[in-house]
C-alpha cells in the first residue's frame, strides 16, 4: 500500500468521525459506516496503519472495534 492510500484511508476515517459528532453513539456509527461501505482490502489496510496514525478518538475506537471483530 502506498503512502497516498494509507494517508487517504486515515483521512476518510477522520472525516466520517468529524461528521457524526452529534450522533448518540458516534463510535458505533463510524464502525457501522466503515463496515457497510469499505471493501475488505480497505479495512485491512486501515487496520495495518492505524497505530501511530493521527486519528480522532472516536475513529480510533471504531477501527479498534472493527479490527477486533475481524480477527
Amino acid at each position: 500500500m502506498s503512502a497516498h492510500t494509507a494517508e487517504k484511508l486515515i483521512y476518510m476515517a477522520n472525516q466520517i468521525a468529524r461528521n457524526v459528532t452529534h450522533d448518540p453513539d458516534p463510535v458505533a456509527m463510524i464502525a457501522d459506516h466503515i463496515h457497510a461501505f469499505w471493501s475488505p482490502r480497505m479495512k485491512a489496510d486501515v487496520f495495518a496503519v492505524m497505530n501511530g496514525a493521527e486519528l480522532e478518538p472516536t475513529a480510533r475506537a471504531a477501527l479498534e472495534r472493527l479490527a477486533a471483530h475481524a480477527s
Binding site: M1, S2, H4, T5, K8, M12, Q15, I16, R18, N19, T21, H22, D23, P24, H33, A36, F37, W38, S39, P40, R41, M42
Partner: protein
C-alpha cells in the same frame, strides 16, 4: 393515444389544452355536437369537445399546447339559443348545449376568412417543405376554398428574406399567417418570451427579440416549441427541408438529461428526419430542449468508431479486429489477470447513459462473472449522497415527487441546481408555476437565470459562499424552530419525536443563527430569515436540488439537512411538496436502481443481506461476495498500489468527468487491461487496451428511468451501426458476448427478458414488464403489490422507514481552504446547449452556442488581476493548472469563479481536488481554492495531454485519414 410505432401522421391536436377538471378526471357535462352526444369535463371548450368526440372544427390559431386566443375566426360555430357565431375555441361546453359545426352560414364565413389568408400566402404547395403536412393546406381543404377573388397582385407580405441563422430550423416570414402560436408557445410552454409580434395590422410580423436580432442572436434557446406550434412551413426543421416528410414515427426516450423527455423519432427509412416531443409523455408533457429536440446528429458523426479495436500497449496505434477476435481477446485477458492477481483485481463501471437492462447486465457480469463486487457507476460522482442521505432520513433514496407535483407548489426552494441549463424542460414547467404566482427562493453562489428572467424573479436569492450549504440550511432551520414555525403536528405524527427534539435543540443554538453564521456563509441574515419564514409559512413548499448540494465534502449532510427541513415544515407526502433531487444523466436513477454500487444489489439491498443474496445466487447459480467492493476512487487508488489490474467501462468517460485528472490517468495507466465501450474514442480510451464500439439510444431497445423514478421505453429506430451490413450490436449484446466468452451461459434474446429478471429479483420492480410499459407508457417505481400502478408520490401515509429520522448535521468546513496563494473559490456547472463531458453535443451544431468552456469572474477580481473578457487566463489550484478564456460578469460574487467542463481541452478537472463527501466519496467538484492570472495560452500539461491524446488515438491503416478534432 397513438401507438408507439406507427406510420407517420401528426399527433392529434385537440385545439385547446385540457381543463384542470379534465386532468383531474372530474365529473362531466353533456352536450350535443352535430347530433353526437358528448360528455366532457367542466371547463372544456366546444372545440376540444368536438375533437375529443372524433370531430374536427376548422382552426388555425388554436393548438392544444397553448391557451386559446380567438383570433383566426375560422372555428366559428352556431349554438342553439346563442346569438351569432361564437368561436368554438373560447366557448365552454354547458350542460345540454346543442352545437352545429357545419352550416351554410358557417361555410360562407369560413371561406371568406380563408380566402383572405390565402390571398397573402405563396402558392408553392407542391415544392413547399410542409407539403401534405401543413395545417393551412388542410384547413383550405376543409373549408372548401376554391377561388381567391382578390387576386395576388396587391400589397402583400411575400418574398421576405428568410432567417436561416439557427442551425436547426429556418424562419420564413413569407409563409407566416401571424397566428401567434409561436409567440405563445415561447411564452407559455418554454417561458423564455423571446418572440414577439412587431408592427400592426397588415405589417404584423413575428420577430425574435429586437428588430436587429436574428433567431440565433436573440434570447431564443432553440427549444423547438415554436417550430412545433407553427401550422405552416414558416418555422420548420432544416432536416425536413433536406430529407422530406417523415414516413414512420416511433415513441422513445431522450438520452440526454435526467428529465427523461419522450419523443417521437420521425424517420424515413433508417434516417431520422426529426425528433418531436411526445404530447403524452408524462415527464415533458410535449415540451423539449435544444439537446433532445435537435442535437442527435452525433449518431452519424464521422468520428464515431464502428469497429472493435485492440492493442497490447497504449503507446501503440489501435488495431481494428473482428467482433469475434475482440471478444476472445478481452475474455482471455480478463481470465489471465484474474488467475494471476485474483478476482478482486477486476472491476467494472456501469453507464448512466445506457439502459437499465444494459446496466443490470454489466453489474451482473462483474458480480457473477468476475466474482467481485468491484462495480460502481458515475452516480458516485454526482448523486451518491442523495442515496445515502434520503435512505438514512426517509428510508429510501427515492426522490419524493413526480414532475407534475410542481403545479401545486406555493414556495419553490432551489438549492445547488440550475434547472434552466441542466434540466431545461422541467425548468419550463417550474417557471410556468412561478408565473402563476408561486414564490421562489434560490440558494446558489451564482445569479442563475432563475433568479431573474422574464416574468420570473426570486423572492430571495441567497448567494452563499461555496461550501457552506450545511451552514445555510441549519440557519434556515434555526429560524423556523426558534420562531415557532415548525409543523410539530406533522413531526409528532410522522417522525421520531425524540430525534426531532435533539435536532431542534441543536439548530436552536446561537451558533447556528443566521446572524452568527453570516460571516461564514456570506448570506445577509435578514434575507435568510425572510426566506425561512416564507418557506415555513407560504403553503406547499417544495425543495429542488442538484449537484451543487451533493458534490461537496458534506454532500450527504446537506441532503439530510434538506430532508430535515422538509420534515420540520410538514412538506412531505402529498402533491406540491417534497424533496426533489434533479438527477444529471438520463439514466443515473436507473443505474443506481440496478445495483451498480459496490455495496448494493438491485433495489438498494446491501450485499451483506443474506436473504437478498440468496435470491441472486439461486437465479444466477453463483455465490455473491457478502463484502462491499471498491468504489471508483478506491479502484484508482488500488490500481496505483498495483492491486487492481482490469476494468470494463461501459459508456463513461472517467478521465474527463472525474476529479483530479492526473490521479485518474495514473490509475488507468497502472492497469493491464482497460476495456472501454463507447461511441467515440473518449478521453478514458487514451488509456484503453480494448475498444468496443457502442450503440446509440436510437439503435437499441430497453428502458431509462428519469429523475422522478419514471421507467420509460427506449425503442430502436435504426439498426446498430457498429458492425457490417446490419450486424452491429446493442450494448447489452456486447456484454452478453463477453459473458459467454467468460463461460457464463447467458441467452437473452431481447431486453424484455432482462427486465423480467430484474422484476423477479427486485421487489420495487416486481410489477414492471415491457408489456405493461407498452400499454401504460411509463411506470414510476415502486411498482409492486403494495403499489400496483406505481408511485408518483412517496411517503403518503408514512415514511418508508417507519418514522422519519431527523439527523443532526453539524457544519464541518471543507479542508479545501482559500489562502494567500489560492484566494478564490472555483465552482463548476453546466450550460444548456452542452451535455456532461460533451462527447455527444460537441459533435453537433450545438457548438454554435458554446464552443469552449469560459471562466466567469467578477469585475472586481478581474480588474485586480488586469483581466478582460476574452483574455486567456491561467487557473491554478493545489492539484494542477489549466488555461481557458475569461468572461467578466457579476453573475458570480467577488471571490468566486465558475466554469463548465464540457470540453476536454479545458481540462477543468486537472484543477479539482480529491477531497470528497465523507459518507460516499462523491468528489467535491464544487469547491476548489484557485488563483487566476493572465496567461498567453495552454499550459505544458495541456500541450502534453493533447500530444498524448493524439498519439493514443492513432488507428493502424487510418493514419492521417482521420485525425480526431480534440
Amino acid at each position: 393515444m397513438d401507438s408507439e410505432r406507427d406510420l407517420y401522421r401528426p399527433q392529434p391536436d385537440f385545439g385547446t389544452p385540457p381543463s384542470l377538471a379534465e386532468r383531474a378526471g372530474a365529473a362531466s357535462v353533456t352536450a350535443i355536437i352535430d347530433g353526437r352526444e358528448v360528455s366532457v369535463a367542466p371547463g372544456t371548450t366546444v372545440m376540444r369537445a368536438a375533437a375529443l368526440s372524433g370531430g374536427s372544427i376548422p382552426k388555425l390559431c388554436a393548438t392544444d399546447s397553448v391557451k386559446q386566443f380567438g383570433s383566426c375566426r375560422l372555428c366559428l360555430v352556431e349554438i342553439d339559443g346563442m346569438r351569432g357565431t361564437p368561436a368554438s375555441c373560447t366557448t365552454l361546453v354547458a350542460e345540454g348545449m346543442k352545437v352545429h359545426t357545419q352550416t351554410k352560414k358557417l361555410e360562407k364565413l369560413r371561406r371568406g376568412v380563408m380566402e383572405l389568408y390565402i390571398s397573402d400566402h405563396p402558392l408553392d404547395c407542391l415544392t413547399c417543405s410542409a407539403n401534405n403536412d401543413c395545417e393551412l393546406q388542410d384547413q383550405a381543404a376543409a373549408v372548401g376554398l376554391r377561388d381567391v377573388r382578390y387576386g395576388y397582385e396587391g400589397a402583400n407580405n411575400l418574398a421576405q428574406p428568410m432567417d436561416i441563422s439557427n442551425p436547426y430550423f429556418d424562419f420564413d416570414p413569407s409563409k407566416c399567417i401571424v397566428c401567434s402560436r409561436c409567440v405563445r408557445a415561447c411564452d407559455e410552454v418554454q417561458g423564455t418570451l423571446a418572440l414577439t409580434i412587431e408592427g400592426r395590422g397588415f405589417d404584423s410580423k413575428v420577430s425574435a427579440g429586437l428588430a436587429s436580432d436574428s433567431f440565433l442572436s436573440s434570447e431564443c434557446v432553440s427549444c423547438g416549441a415554436c417550430v412545433q406550434a407553427c401550422p405552416t412551413a414558416t418555422l420548420q426543421e432544416k432536416a425536413v427541408k433536406e430529407i422530406g416528410k417523415p414516413e414512420r414515427a416511433t415513441v422513445t426516450t431522450c438520452a440526454y438529461c435526467g428529465v427523461g423527455c419522450t419523443f417521437r423519432a420521425e424517420t424515413r427509412g433508417e434516417e431520422v428526419v426529426r425528433m418531436v416531443p411526445w404530447k403524452d409523455g408524462k415527464a415533458n408533457r410535449g415540451h423539449s430542449c435544444v439537446k433532445g429536440r435537435f442535437a442527435w446528429g452525433y449518431a452519424q458523426h464521422q468520428e464515431r468508431i464502428l469497429s472493435p479495436m485492440i492493442r497490447s500497449s497504449i503507446d501503440e496505434p489501435w488495431q481494428e479486429v473482428s467482433w469475434e477476435e475482440a471478444i476472445a481477446h478481452t475474455a482471455s485477458e480478463l481470465k489471465r489477470i484474474s488467475a494471476k492477481y485474483g478476482r478482486n483485481a477486476l472491476g467494472g463501471i456501469t453507464s448512466s447513459r445506457c439502459t437499465n437492462e444494459e446496466t443490470f447486465l454489466v453489474q451482473k457480469l462483474v458480480r457473477a462473472g468476475f466474482g467481485t463486487n468491484n462495480v460502481d457507476t458515475c452516480a458516485r460522482v454526482c448523486h451518491s449522497p442523495t442515496g445515502y442521505g434520503l435512505k438514512t432520513t426517509f428510508g429510501t433514496s427515492a426522490g419524493t415527487q413526480d414532475f407534475d407535483s410542481v403545479e401545486d407548489s406555493d414556495v419553490i426552494l432551489v438549492i445547488g441546481a440550475n434547472p434552466t441549463d441542466g434540466h431545461p424542460v422541467f425548468a419550463s414547467r417550474m417557471k410556468r408555476r412561478l408565473r402563476q404566482g408561486a414564490k421562489l427562493i434560490v440558494i446558489d453562489p451564482r445569479r442563475t437565470d432563475l433568479v431573474r428572467s422574464p416574468h420570473v424573479e426570486a423572492d430571495y436569492h441567497l448567494p452563499l459562499r461555496p461550501g457552506t450549504n450545511v451552514a445555510v440550511l441549519t440557519a434556515l432551520a434555526h429560524v423556523i424552530v426558534t420562531e415557532g414555525l415548525a409543523d410539530e403536528t406533522f413531526v409528532r405524527e410522522r417522525c421520531d419525536w425524540e430525534e426531532y427534539r435533539h435536532w431542534a435543540d441543536f439548530v436552536s443554538l446561537e451558533r447556528n443563527s443566521p446572524e452568527f453564521l453570516e460571516p461564514v456563509t456570506g448570506v445577509p441574515a435578514a434575507d435568510l430569515r425572510g426566506a425561512a419564514r416564507l418557506f415555513a409559512t407560504g403553503g406547499n413548499g417544495a425543495i429542488y436540488y442538484g449537484l451543487g448540494v451533493t458534490e461537496h465534502s458534506q454532500g450527504s449532510s446537506t441532503v439530510m439537512a434538506i430532508a430535515n427541513l422538509a420534515m420540520a415544515t410538514g412538506n412531505i407526502g402529498r402533491r406540491g411538496v417534497g424533496v426533489n433531487p434533479l438527477r444529471g444523466q438520463n439514466n443515473v436513477q436507473g443505474a443506481c436502481d440496478m445495483g451498480s454500487f459496490p455495496h448494493e444489489l438491485s433495489g438498494y439491498r446491501h450485499v451483506s443481506d443474506a436473504s437478498a443474496r440468496a435470491l441472486f445466487e439461486a437465479e444466477w447459480g453463483v455465490p455473491i461476495d457478502p463484502e462491499p467492493g471498491l468504489r471508483i476512487p478506491n479502484m484508482l487508488d488500488a490500481a496505483t498500489d498495483g492491486l487492481f489490474k482490469a476494468i470494463y467501462i461501459q459508456g463513461e468517460d472517467i478521465l474527463q468527468s472525474d476529479p483530479d485528472t492526473k490521479h485518474v490517468a495514473a490509475g488507468l495507466a497502472a492497469m493491464e487491461c482497460v476495456i472501454v465501450q463507447d461511441l467515440f474514442l473518449n478521453e478514458t480510451a487514451n488509456y484503453a487496451h480494448v475498444f468496443l464500439p457502442g450503440s446509440t439510444f436510437l439503435e437499441k431497445n430497453g428502458t431509462f428511468t428519469n429523475a422522478e423514478r419514471r421507467i420509460q421505453p427506449v425503442r430502436k429506430v435504426m439498426e446498430p451501426r457498429n458492425g457490417p451490413n446490419g450486424n452491429g450490436y446493442e450494448d447489452w449484446e456486447i456484454t452478453q458476448l463477453m459473458a459467454r466468452a467468460m463461460g457464463l451461459d447467458w441467452n437473452y434474446t431481447h431486453p424484455r427478458e432482462i427486465m423480467d429478471e430484474i422484476a423477479r429479483l427486485t421487489p420495487t420492480f416486481a410489477g414492471v414488464s415491457f408489456a405493461r410499459l407498452d400499454a401504460e407508457g411509463s411506470l414510476q417505481w415502486p411498482v409492486n403489490d403494495a403499489a400496483p400502478d406505481g408511485s408518483p408520490i412517496m411517503h403518503i401515509d408514512g415514511f418508508v422507514r417507519g418514522k422519519g429520522k431527523f439527523v443532526v448535521t453539524d457544519y464541518v468546513p471543507t479542508d479545501e481552504r482559500t489562502g494567500p496563494r489560492f484566494p478564490l473559490l472555483l465552482t463548476t456547472g453546466r450550460i444548456l446547449s452542452q451535455y456532461n463531458v460533451g462527447a455527444q453535443t460537441r459533435r453537433t451544431a450545438n457548438v454554435v452556442w458554446h464552443e469552449e468552456d469560459l471562466l466567469e469572474i467578477h469585475p472586481t477580481d478581474a480588474e485586480n488581476r488586469g483581466i478582460k473578457s476574452g483574455d486567456w487566463v491561467r487557473l491554478a489550484s493545489r492539484s494542477g493548472e489549466t488555461t481557458l478564456r475569461a468572461t467578466v460578469t457579476d453573475r458570480v460574487a467577488p471571490g468566486v469563479v465558475y466554469t463548465t467542463f464540457h470540453h476536454p481541452a479545458t481540462q477543468a478537472n486537472v484543477v479539482t481536488t480529491d477531497y470528497s463527501d465523507w459518507a460516499t466519496n462523491c468528489p467535491e467538484y464544487k469547491v476548489t481554492a484557485v488563483q487566476i492570472t493572465p496567461s498567453n495560452g495552454p499550459t505544458d500539461w495541456q500541450e502534453e495531454y493533447e500530444a498524448q491524446a493524439t498519439r493514443s488515438r492513432r488507428i493502424r491503416g487510418h493514419e492521417g485519414a482521420m485525425e480526431p478534432a480534440e
